[in-house]
Amino acid sequence: MSLDHSAVHEKKRVALFSVMAAVFLTGSKLLIGLLTGSLGILSEALHSCLDLVAAIITYFSVRISDKPADSDHHFGHGKVENLSALMETFLLLITSVWIIHEAAHRLMTGNVKIEVTVWSYIVVISSIAVDFSRSRALMKAAKIHNSQALEADAIHFSTDIWSSSVVLLGLVCSNFGFYYADPVAALFVALIVIYVCFILGKKAVDVLLDGAPADYVEVVEKIAENVRGLTSVHDIKARMAGADVFLEVCVHLNPSSTLEEAHRISHEFEKLIHEKISRCRVHIHQEPEECIPDPEKTEGLL
C-alpha cells in the first residue's frame, strides 16, 4: 500500500487544529459569558459547542477514512467521510433553526435591545478571525486531498463567519440605536445556511447512494480508444467512497486471441486509467467481441 502517509497525517493535523480552535472559542465565550453575565455571549458559547461537536466528528472520520480495507470492509472506509459530511449538514440545520427561533422571538416580543460591552466586541471579532483562518486551512486541505469531511467542516466554519458578522452588525447598529437590524440580518443568514445545508447534504447523499461521479464514464471511454486490441467498452459503472473511485468496465476483445493477450491489454488499459484518475480501483470484465449480452447478467440490478 503506497498511500501517501504524509497526506493522511496532514488531514488529521488540520482536523485536530479545528478541534482545538473550537475548544478555545467555546471555552473563552463560556468564561466571558459567565464573568459578564451576558446572555448573548452565553448563547454564542452554546453555538460554538455545536461547532466543537462538528469538528470532533470530522477529526474521527478523517482518522477512520484512510484505514486500509479489512475483512469487514472490502472496499475500505472512505464512505465515513461522506457520512461525516451528512452529520455536519444536520448540525448546521439545527444551528439555522435555532437562529431563526431566536430572531423570530426577538422580533415578535419586540425585545430587540441587546447589551453591548467591550467584551462583546472582543469575543465576536476574535471568533471571526479564528473561523476565517480555520475555514481557509480546512478548505485548502480538503481540495488537495479530495476530502469531503474536511470540506464540510470548512463550510461549517465559514457559515460561522457569516453569523458572527451578523452579531457584529447588530452590535454596531445597537450602538447607533437601530435595534431591528440584528434579528433581520440573522434571518437572512439562517436562510443562507439552509441553502448551504441543501448543497452539502445533496453531495453527501449522492455519494452514500453510490451515485455516479459526473465525468468518469467519458474519460474512460476516451482512454479505451487509445488501447490497441480493445474493440469496444460498455457498461462503465463508477461510484465513490470518500476520495476513492471504484470503476467497473466491460471490454470486448478478439474472441480467438489468447487469455495472455487479453490480460496484457486489460492491464495496459488499467494502467492508463490509473494515470488519468487518481485513487481509483478498476475492475475489468473481458468479453469476446461477438458476445451477445446475457439478459440474466443484468437481472440482479433490475
Partner: protein, 299 residues
C-alpha cells in the same frame, strides 16, 4: 426483482399510525387526560416515520440510471438510520421520565378508558410490527425491519406502563413503576443501537456476512477442483442487493471466448446460490505471476 409491492406494507404502517392517533385523540376527548393527548402526539411521529419510509422505499425501487449505476437500493439505509434515531429519542424520553419519577414518586393516575385504548392500540401496533418484520426479513428490506422496530417501541412502552401499574398494585411500592420503565428504555435503546449500526455499516460498504461469504466460497471451490483459481474476492452489501467481484485465473492458452464462458458460468452459479447478487468477474492467465497480485485499494 420488482420490489414495488413492498410499499403496501408501509401503507399498513400508515393505517396503524392513523388508527392509533384517532383512538387516542378520541379517548382524550372523552376523558380529558393529558397523558392520552401526549400519547396521540407521539403517534404522529410514527406517522411521519412511516411516510419517510414510504418515500425512501419509493426511491430504493427505482431502476439503475445514468446517475446511479449501482441502483438506488441504499436509500433504504437513510430511512432505517432516521428510524433508529427516532427510536433512540423515544428511549431517552422514557428513561428521563423514569428517573424523574424515581426521584419524585407520584401516585399513578387512574387509567380506566385510557388503559382500554392503550391496550387496543398496542395490539394493533404489535400485529402490524409482526407483519412488517417478517416481510422485512423475507424480502431483505431494512426499511421495513426498522419501521417494525419503531412500532414495537410503542408496544414496549405500553407494556411498561401496564406492567408498572400491575407491579405497583401487587407490591404497593411506587418506585417499581419507574424501575420497570427504565429497564424497558434500556431495551429499546439496544434495538436503536443495532438498527443505527446496521444502517451506518451499510452506508460504509460493509462486506457480506461470513455465512454469505462461505456460500460464495463453496461455489468457487467447485471450480477449484477443475483447476481454476480465484483471488481478490470483494463483497459488499447494498441494502437488498449483494455485490460480489472476483478475479478468475484460468490457463493462459485459453481463448478469450472460452475463458469468458467459464466466467459467465461462475457468475451464474453465484447468482443462483445467493439471490439478488450482482457478480462481476475479471479473467486472468494463471501462469502470469502479476495476475495473483492483489491490487491494494489505494495506489
Amino acid at each position: 426483482m420488482n420490489r414495488s409491492f413492498l410499499t403496501r406494507y408501509i401503507w399498513l404502517s400508515i393505517a396503524a399510525a392513523l388508527t392509533t392517533i384517532i383512538l387516542k385523540t378520541g379517548a382524550w376527548y372523552m376523558t380529558g387526560s393529558v397523558g392520552l393527548l401526549s400519547d396521540a402526539l407521539e403517534s404522529i411521529i410514527n406517522l411521519l416515520a412511516a411516510l419517510m419510509a414510504m418515500a425512501m422505499l419509493r426511491i430504493a425501487i427505482l431502476p439503475p440510471d445514468k446517475n446511479h449505476e449501482f441502483g438506488h437500493g441504499k436509500a433504504e439505509y437513510f430511512s432505517s438510520f432516521v428510524e433508529g434515531l427516532l427510536i433512540m429519542f423515544a428511549a431517552a424520553c422514557i428513561a428521563y421520565t423514569a428517573v424523574e419519577r424515581f426521584l419524585n414518586p407520584q401516585p399513578l393516575e387512574k387509567l380506566g378508558i385510557g388503559l382500554f385504548v392503550s391496550v387496543i392500540a398496542t395490539i394493533i401496533n404489535f400485529i402490524v410490527a409482526g407483519i412488517l418484520l417478517s416481510a422485512g426479513k423475507k424480502y431483505r428490506s431494512i426499511t421495513l425491519e426498522a419501521d417494525s422496530h419503531h412500532l414495537m417501541t410503542d408496544v414496549w412502552t405500553s407494556v411498561a406502563v401496564i406492567g408498572g401499574v400491575g407491579a405497583v398494585g401487587l407490591t404497593g411500592w411506587l418506585k417499581l413503576d419507574s424501575i420497570v420503565a427504565f429497564a424497558v428504555a434500556m431495551n429499546i435503546l439496544r434495538t436503536a443501537y443495532k438498527i443505527i449500526r446496521r444502517s451506518v455499516e451499510g452506508l460504509m460498504d460493509a462486506s457480506l456476512s461470513p455465512q454469505e461469504q462461505e456460500t460464495i466460497e463453496s461455489v468457487l471451490s467447485g471450480y477449484r477442483k477443475q483447476g481454476i483459481q480465484f483471488h481478490a474476492l470483494l463483497t459488499r452489501q447494498g441494502a437488498s442487493r449483494r455485490f460480489v467481484s472476483v478475479h478468475v485465473l484460468v490457463p493462459g492458452n485459453f481463448s478469450v471466448h472460452d475463458a469468458h464462458h467459464i466466467a459467465e458460468n461462475i457468475e451464474k452459479d453465484i447468482r443462483n446460490a445467493l439471490r439478488d447478487t450482482v457478480v462481476f468477474t475479471h479473467i486472468e492467465p494463471v501462469e502470469d505471476e502479476i495476475s495473483l497480485d492483489d491490487i491494494p485499494l489505494d495506489r
